[in-house]
Symmetry: C2
Subunit: 367 residues, 2 copies
Amino acid sequence: MALISPSRRLRRTPFSDGVEAAGVKAYTVYNRMLLPTVFRSVQEDYHHLKEAVQIWDVSCERQVELRGPDASRLMQLLTPRDLRTMLPGQCYYVPIVDETGGMLNDPVAVKLADDHWWISIADSDLLLWVKGIAYGYRLDVLVDEPDVSPLAVQGPKADELMARVFGDTVRDIRFFRFKQLSFQGRMMVVARSGYSKQGGYEIYVEGSDIGMDLWNALMEAGRDLDVHAGCPNLIERIEGGLLSYGNDMDDDNTPHECGLGKFCNTQTAIGCIGRDALLRVAKEGPVKQIRAIAIEGDPLPSCDRHWPLLAGGKVVGRVSSAAWSPDFGTNVAIGMVRMTHWDAGTELTVQTPASQLSAIVQENFWI
Amino acid sequence: MALISPSRRLRRTPFSDGVEAAGVKAYTVYNRMLLPTVFRSVQEDYHHLKEAVQIWDVSCERQVELRGPDASRLMQLLTPRDLRTMLPGQCYYVPIVDETGGMLNDPVAVKLADDHWWISIADSDLLLWVKGIAYGYRLDVLVDEPDVSPLAVQGPKADELMARVFGDTVRDIRFFRFKQLSFQGRMMVVARSGYSKQGGYEIYVEGSDIGMDLWNALMEAGRDLDVHAGCPNLIERIEGGLLSYGNDMDDDNTPHECGLGKFCNTQTAIGCIGRDALLRVAKEGPVKQIRAIAIEGDPLPSCDRHWPLLAGGKVVGRVSSAAWSPDFGTNVAIGMVRMTHWDAGTELTVQTPASQLSAIVQENFWI
């Protein structure tokens, strides 16, 4: 692997000092911000995540803030998911598409109030799309990136650790709900959510100045729980079928191709951008779709480009993420497969840069 | 320095195989794409750039393509620079601002025809802003990212190398002009431009499939010119005062703060986004501005965050890029300084994470 050159353009976070002190070994860049990828090793981090509790610097999940009388109108314009019954205190996973139904981002919308939303984004400058739409429509709304940096607490012991720092009330937070809780006298949005299947929370830390205090408090409180610095884990997220925008899908893909059709209420979310195109897709169904793929053979290298999936010498799909799973004893992967070959059990061939390997379409992801 | 984790989300380019074969040592990420930063060492690459000729994979300068009857109208909407006299075959450096005059990008606009433009972007998803504006205004224009990847040929021997591959006609291309020239029967936009002060060209390679053929042809033709793989060089670009969006300025800054007021024709570019705010700025002048800064002492580490500039213990600015210059025997830097302290010769103190050092505001950049 090559090195990453530091520059101000690859933004540090309020928790970078803690991440460095914890011995981060590698980064990726996400929303022009540093996102750790490895502490001890991807496999060690993986086992630890499933057994204990980790603190993740996911500041790179930047927020697009909507404030003002037209905030809710704008939010519904942005997504085909019907938001009419959504209440303050809820988080919704919301595909955001352009007018042709191509995915621009797959963020989590956080409803603070009718006139106040955060959109917690995946890796694209959704801020620019939202600003452009708000300006083009002359909406009465302020759109900005606030000084809010999510810190995730993930793993089976996350409840215990969070209760020690924020009080037992965190245990009552339901999945994809949030409460405003105090740390050092400052209120923070604390949601039960996160980019793993091990359970946990995301703390939306408002104000960079308090970042390291919170990081240190969590590390201190969790010492006997074997708390470690961690990060979204490639193996665990593939096992769990957590998609990654930019890896597994991009603006070429509709939500339906990504298995996100259930978040597209094209019959009721009238007026949302991309509605006409998605109504058509919903009627006809996608011709290719995301699938879990098992790949035989030795542990694979990183999937840094599309690996074609072949059947009878013809390309019928591609793999976009892959990793060796110690727990399942196979290479686990995420791919997009044409409908002719997407049934569970279909045997395909995957072409990696190094070799051709057998691949089998799975019924479900591993978790 | 930490490692960079490969993934499909950090996009490879049509030239990545060549870059790897040339022994790239480090990358940055720019527009979610890999941009090499070091081959031999930053200093060796620097000396070589000033003496010979280098091939740079700058595919990360992605294009936003505008096509259709409203393309020129949209382009003028996007920038305060007056484009009325711009002809096909010209390239213009165009600040792009939001409605408050905050910079969203500082790209180069390439006018292919009245109804066909490319915007060769710096590091932000300008595509999303342009798509949002086009959609909000209901303009009759297609906005997309085409399969176009710039390859730069930079250095004093660039003319000779380019003439060998594209013919002597390249020598007649004037600065910030382009010609359509053939390589292996395919027409390519070849502009005299590039992110160095050593002279050279940028080839807008349309079609990823031909990328390595062109890379190899340039390497082969330049063997006796000591051609090497290279990349934008941190030292050389600071010496030359080439600003970097995301490092030296961002959406908090107006073009005037960045010394780009001359590209804002707020009296004539009527109707452009941000015109009202910039007209106000133009009347009053900015209260802080980009300056060349010399920093005394030993060679500095990378500037990975703002370094405050102090005068009498008060913050009067910040440094955003810095490097040791072998040719000028000092640390060269780019900073933003308040008007109270921006005169050439002003002595300031810069606070790096490690120490306080003397800094002197310069009259001009070093080249």
